[in-house]
C-alpha cells in the first residue's frame, strides 16, 4: 500500500463501462480519476471564477459603504438592531458544521460511506467558517476597533467582558477555525504527497511539498498519520456540538422573547447539520457529474447523506413545534404574542418559507426513489438551504421586531446593502471552493484505497 507514489507510465485508459456507477476502481485509476481535477482549468471554470469575483466586488462595495457611512445604509433600526448580518453569520457557521460531523464523528463511528465525501465536506467547513467569521467583524458600528474583542494586554488596563455571549463567540469560532483547518490539512497529507509527485511547475511543487510535510509513505508515517488523524477526530468531535451551542447562546442568553429558550443549543446544532449536509449534497452532485466520478461517489453514498438530511429535518421540525407549544403553554404573554406574530405577522412569508422548506418538503426523502434521484435531491437541498437561512432570519428579526415595549414596533424592510451582503457571502465562499477543487485532491485517495483489494503483481494494479 505504501508504494503507489512513483508516477505511472502512460497506459490504456480504464475500460469504459456503460453505467458510470459501476466503473471499476483500481489503485491506479483512482489516482488518475481524482488527480485529473488538479489541472489547468478550462473555460467554464474561468467563467465561473470571474463571475464569482465580480459579484464579490459588488459586495465589497457595499461593505465599504457600511464602513464609510455607517450601518444607517442598512435597513436596521431600533429595535431590529441585527438582521441580515447575524443571519449570515449563523447560517455559514451552520454550513461549516457538517464537515466536522462527516469527517470526525462518522470517522469515529467507522461509517465507511464518509470516505468518499468527507474531503469536500471538510473543505466546506473551513471555507464556511472563513465566511461566517467575516460577519461579526463587519457588523459592528466601528469595525476598526474589533480587536478590542480580543483579550490582549493593553495600556488601558481593560479586559474583555467574559460574561458576554459575543465574547464566547470570539473564542468558539476561532477555536473551530483552527481545529478544523488543522484537521483538514492533516487529512490531506498523503494525497497532497501524491499530487506533489505529479506536479510539474516548481512553485506548485514547492507548495505541495510544504503541505505534504515530507511525506514518503513510509510505514511509520502511516502509523503516525492514523494516530494523529484519530486524535484530531476526537478533538474536533466535541466542537461540532459546542460551537453551534455557543452561537445559539448569543440568542438564548438574551431575554428577548423568542430567543430566551433552553431549547436553542440542540435546536441549532441539529439545524446546522441539516443545512450542512444539504450543502454537501449541493456541492457533490455537480462535481461527481462534471468530473465523471459517479463510481467513486456512488448513489449509495449520496443516499446515506440524504437519510442524514431527513433525520435532522425531523429534529428541526420538532424544535419548531416545541417552541410554539411552549409559547402557548407557558405563562409568558410576550412570548405568546411573538410566536403568533411570527406565523401571522407581516413577516409571515419568511416564516412559512422556513417551515415548508425545512419541515414539509424534506418529507419527500422518505421515498427511496426520491433519495436516489440526483436532480430532485439537488433541488430539494437548495430549498433546504434557503429554508435554513430564513430560519435564522425569522429567529432574529421577528423576535427583535416584537420585543417587550410596543412603543417602538416598526416594520423592517431589507435594503440593497443587505442583499449585497447575502450574495457576497456566497461569492466569497465559492471563490475558495472553486480554487480548492482545482489545486487540492477533492476526494481522499488514501482512504478510498483502503476499500480496494490489495494490489497483487500482474493484475494491472501496480507495476
Amino acid at each position: 500500500m505504501s508504494q503507489t507514489l512513483t508516477p505511472p507510465a502512460p497506459r490504456a485508459a480504464a475500460p469504459v463501462h456503460d453505467d458510470p456507477e459501476k466503473r471499476p476502481i483500481t489503485q491506479a485509476s483512482l489516482n488518475d480519476d481524482v488527480l485529473k481535477l488538479i489541472s489547468p482549468p478550462g473555460k467554464i471554470w474561468w467563467a465561473a471564477f470571474i463571475f464569482d469575483l465580480a459579484v464579490l466586488a459588488v459586495a465589497l462595495g457595499a461593505v465599504r459603504n457600511l464602513i464609510v457611512h455607517g450601518w444607517g445604509v442598512s435597513g436596521f433600526f431600533r429595535p431590529v438592531m441585527w438582521a441580515v448580518d447575524i443571519t449570515n453569520f449563523v447560517f455559514w457557521v451552520g454550513i461549516a458544521h457538517c464537515g466536522t460531523l462527516v469527517s470526525a464523528v462518522l470517522f469515529l463511528f467507522r461509517s465507511h460511506f464518509r470516505r468518499a465525501v468527507y474531503r469536500v465536506a471538510e473543505a466546506m467547513t473551513v471555507f464556511g467558517v472563513l465566511t461566517a467569521a467575516m460577519f461579526p467583524a463587519i457588523h459592528t458600528g466601528r469595525p476598526w476597533f474589533d480587536y478590542w474583542l480580543f483579550p490582549y494586554p493593553n495600556q488601558r488596563g481593560i479586559w474583555t467582558n467574559v460574561r458576554s455571549p459575543l465574547e464566547w463567540d470570539v473564542f468558539a469560532v476561532n477555536t473551530y477555525l483552527t481545529v478544523s483547518s488543522i484537521f483538514f490539512l492533516v487529512g490531506l497529507i498523503p494525497d497532497v504527497a501524491a499530487v506533489r509527485d505529479r506536479a510539474k511547475h516548481p512553485l506548485m511543487k514547492f507548495i505541495y511539498t510544504l503541505l505534504s510535510f515530507g511525506w514518503t509513505g513510509a510505514n511509520y508515517q502511516w502509523k503516525h498519520f492514523y494516530g494523529a488523524y484519530l486524535f484530531f477526530a476526537a478533538l474536533a468531535t466535541p466542537l461540532v456540538f459546542s460551537v453551534h451551542s455557543v452561537v445559539s447562546w448569543d440568542f438564548a442568553m438574551a431575554q428577548v422573547p423568542g430567543w430566551h429558550s433552553t431549547l436553542f443549543a440542540p435546536y441549532f446544532v441539529a439545524g446546522a447539520i441539516f443545512s450542512g449536509v444539504a450543502m454537501v449534497i449541493n456541492l457533490l452532485i455537480p462535481i461527481r457529474k462534471a468530473f465523471k466520478l459517479e463510481h467513486i461517489v456512488t448513489l449509495d453514498h449520496m443516499e446515506k447523506l440524504a437519510k442524514l438530511v431527513l433525520l435532522t429535518s425531523t429534529m428541526v421540525g420538532y424544535s419548531y413545534l416545541t417552541e410554539f407549544f411552549m409559547a402557548w403553554f407557558g405563562p409568558n404573554k410576550a412570548e405568546a404574542d411573538l410566536f403568533w406574530f411570527r406565523a401571522t405577522g407581516y413577516l409571515w412569508p419568511a416564516f412559512w418559507t422556513m417551515f415548508s422548506c425545512n419541515v414539509i418538503f424534506p418529507l419527500l426523502l422518505w421515498f427511496k426513489g426520491f433519495r436516489r434521484n440526483m436532480t430532485a435531491m439537488f433541488i430539494l437541498c437548495l430549498f433546504v438551504n434557503v429554508g435554513m437561512w430564513f430560519e435564522r432570519f425569522v429567529i432574529i428579526v421577528t423576535s427583535l421586531n416584537r420585543a417587550f415595549n410596543p412603543a417602538n414596533w416598526f416594520h423592517y424592510t431589507i435594503s440593497i446593502t443587505e442583499i449585497a451582503l447575502i450574495v457576497g457571502s456566497f461569492a466569497w465562499f465559492f471563490m475558495f471552493f472553486l480554487v480548492f477543487v482545482r489545486v487540492l485532491p477533492a476526494f481522499s485517495i488514501a482512504e478510498i484505497k483502503e476499500t480496494l483489494p490489495v494490489p497483487r503483481r500482474g493484475n494491472g494494479g501496480h507495476r
Partner: protein, 1048 residues
Amino acid sequence: MSDDQVAFDRRDFLKLVGIGVAGVTAGCAKPPAEKLIPYLVAPEDILPGVPYFYASTCRECPAGCGLIVRTREGRAIKLEGNPAHPLNEGGLCARGQAGLQGLYDPDRIKTPLVKEGAGWKAVTWDEAVALVGGKIAAAKNRTTLLTGLETGSMRALAGELGSSVGAKHVMWEPFGFEALRAANRATFGIDAVPRLDVGAARCLVAFGADLLETLLSPVSQARGFAAMRAQRDDGGGHFVTVEPRLSSTGANADEWVAAKSGTEFAVALGMANVIVNEGLGPAAAERAALKGALADWTPEKVAALTDVPAETLTRLARLFAQRSPSLAVAGGIATQGTNGTALAAAVNVLNHVAGNTGRTVRFDRVLDVSGLATFAQFSVELASMAAGNCDVLLVHGANPAYAAPDWAPVKDAFLKVPFKVALSTARDETTELCDVILPISHPLESFGDAWSARGVYALQQPAMKKLPMFDSRSLGDVLIAVGKAGGGGKSWPDSYHDYLQGRWKALHARFGKGRDFETFWTESLQAGGVFEDVPATAVRWTGTPSFAASERFGPGEYALLLTPSNNFYDGRGANRPWLQELPDMTSKTVWGSWAEIHPETAQKLGVKQGEPLRVETSAGNVEVPAYIYGGIRKDTVAIALGQGHTSYGRYAKGRGVNAVRLLPKSMDEAAGAVAYQGANAKLSRGTAAMELYVQQAEKDQHDRHIAQIVPLAALLGGKAAAGHSGGGEAGAGEEEAPSAAHYPAGEGVHDVHESMTRPGKYTEPKARPEGWKPPAHAITAFEPKLKGRHPGDDPVNVGSYPGAKHRWAMTVDLNSCTGCAACVVACNAENNIPIVGPDLVRRGREMQWIRIDRFEEKVAPGANDVRFVPMMCQHCGDAPCEMVCPVYATYHSPEGLNAQVYNRCVGTRYCSNNCPYKVRAFNWFDYSAPEKTTFAFPEPLNWQLNPDVTVRSKGVMEKCTMCIQRILEGKGNAKDESRAVRDGEIQTACAQSCPTRAITFGDLADPESAVHEKSFGERRYWVFEELYTKPGVTYLQKVTRDTAGGEA
C-alpha cells in the same frame, strides 16, 4: 454690571477653539493642529470651564415665563425656568426651551438688507437707519408699527415713537383671546383674561380649553393641574373635557364629552341650567336673572343640539356644583370659533352659578393682553393700508402673511404700502414681503423687560455677547435709532438700555426699599425682575348676554377644526429643529402636518393611516396624510396649525401644510376674532404622494403593564399599598400576589406559573453576617411581587466597588405627567442629542434619550384612559445590557448608574437588542462630522453644544446617563464646600424642566431624600418588573377617578 460696555466683556467669548464643540469619540485620533486662543482682556469674573447663570424672560409666547440661562465660555447653552418667577416657578415648556434655537438659527439674517428687484442687497446699519428714518420723516404720521404682544418698556417706547413721529402702534396675535376678553367685558365689565387657579379646583371641566398646551400660561396651569390631580379626598381633582376632538390636554381627562364642534357653549349652559333649577351652588343675587336667561337651555334641548345625552349633562352639572370649588375653563380652539364668545360667556355663567368666580376664576395676576388688537381691528388697519393711508410699515414679531387667513387683506395692504420694514431675527413670510430687513438681536442677546402679567415686572438681559456672524441690533436700539433719524424721540437716550433704566427708575421708587438704584437694578437683574403680590379685583355680575347657536356653514359634511400646535403654537416655533423632531403628543408624528379623522370616517373614505386625504372648503383645499384617531368625532376633521411655511428657514420651509388657507371668510362677530372653527369641509381620498412621519406607531400596550393606573377609591381604601408597602423590607402584603389593588380592573398581572414561586435553594435568602448592608450601587427600591427564582440578593449586590456613597435613582409620577414633552427638549439641549430628520425618525432611528410613550387604553366618548409614560434608561440594578457588552462599554457604575462609555463602544448593538425598554439610541450615521450630509449641528447651532457632554460619533451606542455631568458638577460643588451632597441639589435636565415636577431625581442611599420617600411610597411599580431588572427608575401609578359610568 449695569454698563453695557462692561456687560459686553463679562459676556465675552472664550475663543478656545473646539472644546467640546467638535468633540467626537474617535478612538486614538491624531492631535489636530490646534491653536489656543486666550482672552484678549481677561473678564474679571469669568472662568473658562465654569457655568454662569443669568436670569431673563422667555419671549416665545405671550405668557412670558422667567428664564435662567446657563452659559459656558460666554455661550448660552441651555434655558431653564426661573424658580423665583411667579408664573412658571422653575418649569419651562418645550417651546420656551427651544427659544435657544431661535438664537442659534443657522438661517438668521446676517446683515441689514434692502430689496433690489428680485434679490436683496446687503447694506450697513447706518445706511439702513438713515433710509428708514428718512422715509418715516417723509411719511408724516402715516407710519404704522405692527408688532406681536409687547408689554412694559417696549410698549411704552412704541407709544412714544407714535407720539413723536406719528407712528401708529398695532399689536396683533393670531390667538388674541378676543372671545375671552369680549365675554368678560359682557359679564364682568373687565377687559381681561382671568388667572385660573387650577390647583384649588376639585372638579375641572375644560370646554375645548388646551390649558396644558397653549392657553394663557400653560406652565403655571400645568403646575396647578398637578396639584389638582394630587388631591386625595374622594372625588377630588376630577377632570372632564368637553370637545369634539380629544386634545393632548383632554387626553389627561377622566371623562371625554364629545360635544358637536361649536356647541360646547350649549353644554355649559345646559349644566348651568341644571344647577340653577336644582338649586345647587350658592344662592347669588343674579340667580333670578340667570334663571331666566337659562330657562330655554334645558338638558333635553341641549342634548339635541350638542349630541350629549341629557343624563350626562345632569350628572356633570351635579358633580360640578357639589365639588366646589370647581372650575370651568373656556379656551383653545373652542373659543376661536363662530360661537367663541358665546362659549366664553356661557362658561362665565357656569362658573358663576357654581360660585367659582373669585375663587378659582381670579382676576389678580392676570396676563396683560389688554393692548392687543382684535382681528377685526387689525383688519380695519389692513384695509386702511390697502386704501393707501399708510406710507411706512414697520413689522416686528408678527407674521400676518403666514398666520392670517387669505381673506384678510394682508397681501393688498403690503402691496399698497410703498415702504415696508421688517425688524426681524429670522426670514419669515412677512419679511419676504418687505423692502428693508433689519436684523434684530435675539431676546437672549439684548436688554428688555416684560410686564406680562399684573404685578410681574420681569427683566430680560443679554446672557451673551451678540453672535459675531450676525450683524444684529436689539429692537429697542433700532426703534430709537430710526425714531431719532425720523426726526422724533428728542428726549430719548441713545441706547435702549438707558431708556429701560429710565423707566425702571419709577419701579425703583416703588420697590427700591431704600436701596440705591444701582443695587436695585443689579438685584432685579439677578432675580429676573420684580414681582409683587396683587390683590384680586373684585368682579360683579354686570349682565347676562343672550345666547344663540350659530350653525356651521359652508359646503361639506365634516366640521373643520384647526388647532394651535403644542409644538409650534401659531407657527412661530416651526424653525426650531428640536420642536420639529418633538413628536406631537396626540399623533406622535414629526416634521409635518396630518389630518385626524375617526376610524369609521376613514373606512367610509377608504383612506388608510398615512394616505393622502383631501380637505376642501369653500376657501381652498389641502392634501395631508391622514391620521386615524379614535379620539375625534365621526363628523369632524382636525388639522394642527403651525406648519406649511413658505419661508422661515431650512427647518420650517415646505414642511406640511398651512391649514389657515382653508378658512372661509367668517368671524366671531361679538369678539371680532377669526373663526378657526365653524366651517364645514369636504373630505375625499387625495392623490399626492406623501409620508406620515410617525415616531410611535403602536399605541396599544398589549397588556404589558407599562403604564399602570390605580383607582382613587382603591387608593383611599389603602389597598394600593398592599404588595408594595412600607420600607425596604418585604411588606405584609408581599405574599398575596398579585394584589388586586396593585393591579386594579384590567390590570391583571401575568399568570403566576408554579415554577416561578417554587420554594427551593434559589428562593432562600442568602445568609448574611450581622448588620450586612448592600453596597451603594446595589441599593434598590425594587421588590418583586412574585417571590421569584432570582433571590433579592444576588452577586451584583455583593462585594465590588467599596466606598461608593450614592445610588442615583429617579421616580416618575404618571399622575402628574401631562405628556407635555418639555423633558424631551431639555434632554436634547443638555446632552447634545442630534436631530436626524423625518425619514430616519419614521424608520425608528430617532436619537432622543427620553421619549413620551403614549398608550391609548380607551379613546372614545365617556370614561377616558390615555396614559403617557416618560421612557428613558431605567438604570437597572441587574441590567440586561451590561452583561452582553463584550468590551465593557456599558457597565454598572459604583453609584448604581448604568454607564455607557462612548469611546469604548465598538457598536455590536447587542445591548440594545437585550434592553426590554428599548431606550438605547445607535448612531446609524455620522451626525457629528461637519463634512457629512447627516451633520446635525450646522453653524451656529454647534455653539449650543454642552461642552461637558461628548458629541457622539458614528457607530456608537448612546443613552440616558442621568445627566452624569450634572451629578459630577454637584458632587464637585459639595467637595469644594467640603460637605455632603444636599438632596435636590443635583437635578437631571428632565426633572428640572418638568412643569409639574412629575420627575424626581436623587440619592436612594440617602433615607431622607425625596426620591427615597417616593420610591418606597404608595403607587410605586416598575415597568417589566417580571424581568427582575431592578430598575433605578420607579414609576408611580396614575390615579384614575370613577366617572360614575360615563356613556361609552
